[in-house]
Symmetry: C2
Subunit: 142 residues, 2 copies
């Protein structure tokens, strides 16, 4: 999806197109690797030196809730990473419990048996599958 379309989509949902927000979005859309909140902030600071980390987190949350960004948790290791999710580019992750490395998977391997092609030696121990959205009571409220 192009930037213009995404901005339009945000506006339709009642979100304001602040300069900081647009900068964050552009940075995520252009990055080829998932980024931490701190990395995003450092890039944003080039054009908006006073941007707060809080603003970055709030925008990452909003974009996640819009389904435009995916957050990957590194299974109890350091900072989580955020990644723009272009339409049709949905994919999953294999995360090393030892070094925290996150490997993008184009295909879903057989749980507990598969070997991701990106790292054929990867030993899968388990997996988590989390769906997110809105429960019935929250949907009513909004």
């Amino acid at each position: 999806m192009q930037l213009e379309q995404v901005l339009k989509q945000l506006k339709e949902k009642g979100h304001k197109l602040t300069p900081q927000r647009q900068s964050i979005l552009k940075i995520l859309m252009m990055s080829k690797v998932p980024m931490t909140a701190l990395e995003v902030r450092q890039k944003v600071q080039k054009s908006h030196p006073r941007v707060s980390l809080n603003t970055v987190y709030l925008n990452l949350l909003m974009l996640t809730q819009m389904g435009l960004v995916i957050q990957t948790h590194l299974q109890n290791r350091t900072a989580s990473r955020f990644e723009y999710q272009a339409e049709g580019s949905h994919h999953h992750h294999a995360i090393c419990l030892s070094c925290g490395k996150s490997i993008c998977l184009d295909h879903v391997p057989e749980p507990k048996a598969g070997k991701p092609e990106e790292d054929p030696g990867f030993q899968i121990l388990g997996h988590t599958l989390e769906f997110y959205g809105y429960c019935s009571s929250c949907k009513k409220a909004s």
Copy 2:
């Protein structure tokens, strides 16, 4: 799996069976709902008043890496929760982006279309699937 068997399994992997660790494990195995680290600590403190939160986190991490515990992240909301994963009881979660409620799923719904039976009104917006284990280089090192 029974407590005794789990303890045996830990021992085989070279882990020591400290009283704190056994307490944490028992609490997780008996709990019917996923617990936060703080909640676990509060229960442990009844028998070990001086237990540190750090110890709780370290044990939760170790148990996660053993595949005995599942950590659910509440998509950017407050504390994550930990749940003992009995053999054959593997299941997934639906998490509300608004209130953070976590619903356990016995079956995997159709992504972006399904309605979990536990909350037929739940609106699924997206999902994350993360495999964890050990990458080839870390496997060699150990």
